[in-house]
């Protein structure tokens, strides 16, 4: 069954029009009644809402010139009904709201040439107002429709006949372009962007075949086509800045390719930008599978970009999970296309995202060394593990949310907290909620652990609401240190019992083993009086998983000798 999406607008939307297909194929679209947007926004509708807002429907253009004096107050007055209705919905529900807004109307460029057009000023004010709202509301998403429609041509996307005949401002093409863009935003709300961009080398990163023409013969960095290849590399670099991992899969001699990366003055990409390499003569699907294993990522998080149609066909055939786009023959189009690919675009990039490549490389190095070490304990001692606690504040909350959203393996309860409920939990938990940063010989792994322990109904019991660890630092026993850090905090408060819940998913079995390996006892194994007390104090917080408890006074945690034990909080 398709999920419901409630659509409402300031004008008619022609439900049933063929232009809606890209949304209608994926969602059960409920259009309600024409013009019902105030009711929809005020009713705390639980389904995601798309609100199409044409500024002209809300503010009669002929009254704007009178209102347009030098301060913004009259604009705020004009936009108040819109802001109030939207604010009400955002306060009432965390369900996603996508505001698709347009201020387009035919205008003379002459008026705009000296900023004499009050309508444009009002439009900019609306843009600013909506963006300010979105900055404070994780559930609000914006689609500036005029920017989207400009690609197809605004004249072709608006249709005055449709407006006067049916009160719909858009043409069929306009509806189609709008629905396609809205579908892309909705897809990203429900699933993360692709994580890895796999690039070919010859005739993809540069013009020419390095094995035939040598490094000197390559087209890269010069004017013309050479510039297009550089700009394509820059588009890839900019994705890397947003958190996409770049990988190279090329049929070549490895030395030739490394030589170009290290020594060709025209290259924008360098060796350190690439998270993983497979330069050899094996089939590319085999190489991509090996990369997926090395990076510990699913194949469906890969995008494969190759100029060669045969390689693309082979990839689609062997690994249909991998997204293999069909780049046009004209390479000058590539920089724009890669930069605008919906599948690789995310809403925001945190500081952690920008450092992801480095961190995946650390992880690959760590795994390689672990595999050759004779003794795990001795090896871990040599890498000098240095964890520390980081308070969850304004600056780090986005990372905490991201860890909740993305951590699948070491995650006790896999609660996908949104902004509002995380804020509440942090407040309730006090210093029992914190992030953990880890550095070791392989580098700074960033914020990789999250703990939230809530006070239970009885003061000497705490409940482990969230306990998770990013897969990039697994294998270091950091979870033992996190548990010890938490216990130190709880003991100060007079807590004796820590209750944990394991909620099984397809991928988190590693977290169940953690509990039994670190002194937690399944509820059924406790003496009856302890069991009843623990159960009663945490019943409201548990959600049907397996309950474990640990008595803090008798708990002995293994592996702590691996850490320089400092559990003080950095501000």
């Amino acid at each position: 069954m398709l999920n419901k999406v409630r659509i409402t607008s300031t004008s008619n939307l022609l439900p049933g029009n063929d232009g809606w297909r890209s949304l209608a194929d994926h969602y059960d679209l409920d259009f309600g009644e024409y013009g019902d947007w105030p009711q929809v926004l005020m009713s705390a509708e639980a389904a995601p809402v798309i609100w199409l807002c044409f500024l002209e429907d809300l503010v009669p253009p002929h009254i704007v010139p009178d209102a347009a004096i030098d301060n913004a107050e009259p604009f705020d007055d004009l936009l108040r009904p819109l802001v109030q209705a939207l604010g009400k919905r955002l306060a009432d529900t965390a369900a996603p709201t996508l505001v698709v807004w347009s201020a387009w109307r035919p205008a003379s460029p002459v008026r705009a040439a000296r900023d004499g057009d009050p309508w444009r000023k009002l439009a900019r004010h609306l843009d600013k107002t909506l963006n300010e709202l979105a900055a404070g509301n994780a559930g609000l998403f914006l689609l500036a429709l005029d920017d989207v429609l400009a690609t197809s041509g605004l004249d072709a996307c608006f249709d005055s006949r449709n407006f006067y005949a049916a009160r719909c401002r858009l043409s069929r093409r306009g509806i189609e372009a709008m629905a396609t863009a809205a579908a892309a935003v909705f897809a990203r709300i429900s699933e993360p962007a692709k994580k890895v961009l796999v690039l070919d080398c010859d005739n993809t990163l540069w013009g020419g075949i390095v094995g035939e023409v040598g490094m000197e013969g390559l087209v890269i960095g010069q004017d013309g086509m050479g510039q297009a290849f550089v700009d394509f590399q820059r588009a890839a670099l900019s994705l890397k800045q947003q958190g996409t991992l770049l990988a190279i899969v090329s049929k070549n001699n490895e030395n030739d390719v490394h030589d170009v990366f290290k020594n060709h003055p025209g290259m924008a990409l360098n060796m350190a930008d690439i998270a993983a390499w497979r330069v050899n003569w094996r089939e590319k699907p085999d190489n991509v599978q090996a990369l997926a294993k090395e990076l510990d990522l699913d194949l469906d998080s890969f995008v494969f970009w190759d100029d060669n149609p045969l390689e693309r066909e082979k990839m689609r055939h062997a690994l249909p999970q991998v997204l293999t786009p069909e780049p046009p023959v004209d390479v000058t189009l590539w920089p724009g296309l890669l930069g605008a690919m919906d599948e690789l675009a995310s809403f925001t990039a945190s500081a952690e995202d920008r450092r992801k490549t480095e961190q995946y490389r650390h992880r690959a190095d760590f795994i390689a060394e672990t595999e050759t070490a004779d003794n795990e304990h001795d090896f871990l001692v040599t890498i000098n593990l240095r964890p520390h606690i980081q308070a969850i504040d304004r600056a780090t909350k986005a990372r905490a949310l991201q860890l909740c959203a993305k951590t699948n393996q070491f995650n006790l309860r896999t609660r996908r907290h949104r902004d509002a409920d995380l804020t509440q939990l942090i407040e309730r938990a006090g210093d029992g909620a914190f992030l953990v940063n880890l550095e070791d010989r392989f580098g700074d792994h960033g914020l990789t652990g999250l703990v939230i322990a809530l006070p239970a109904a009885t003061a000497d019991i705490a409940f482990l609401e969230t306990f998770l660890l990013s897969c990039r630092v697994l294998g270091r026993h950091l979870e033992a240190w996190m548990l010890k850090a938490l216990i130190d905090i709880l003991s100060h408060r007079g807590v004796d019992w820590l209750v944990a819940e394991y909620v099984p998913t397809k991928r988190n079995v590693i977290a169940r083993n953690f509990l039994s390996d670190h002194g937690f006892i399944a509820l059924s194994g406790l003496p009856p009086e302890d069991r009843d007390r623990v159960q009663a104090a945490t019943a409201e917080m548990a959600c049907g998983g397996e309950i474990y408890a640990a008595n803090l006074s008798s708990l002995s945690i293994p592996h702590l000798d691996l850490f320089s034990h400092d559990t003080s909080v950095s501000a």
Binding site: G16, N17, R161, N162, A165, R172
Partner: protein
């Protein structure tokens, strides 16, 4: 280039309806789901398929397949 028939376009617009190819002049209201809004969408579908544009008057006056066919013919299109 050949265009899909008006009956075919009607089937695309109403995939669940039973449309009789032997009735040349099907009209708004002949199918339960064929109301004025659906008719507007149907005319836009025809515009798209035939690369034509109906003006405001035609949008309100063309109610059945025969009239639409005549209008397309007047625009120089063979259907």
């Amino acid at each position: 280039m050949t265009h899909p028939s008006l009956h075919d376009l009607l089937r695309q617009q109403f995939p669940n309806a039973d449309i009789d190819s032997n009735r040349p002049n099907l009209m708004v209201g002949d199918l339960a789901e064929w109301d004025s809004l659906a008719h507007f969408n149907f005319l836009m579908r025809i515009e798209d398929a035939y690369g034509v544009r109906f003006d405001m008057e035609e949008m309100s006056e063309l109610k059945g397949l025969e009239g639409i066919a005549a209008s397309l013919a007047a625009k120089g299109l063979k259907i």
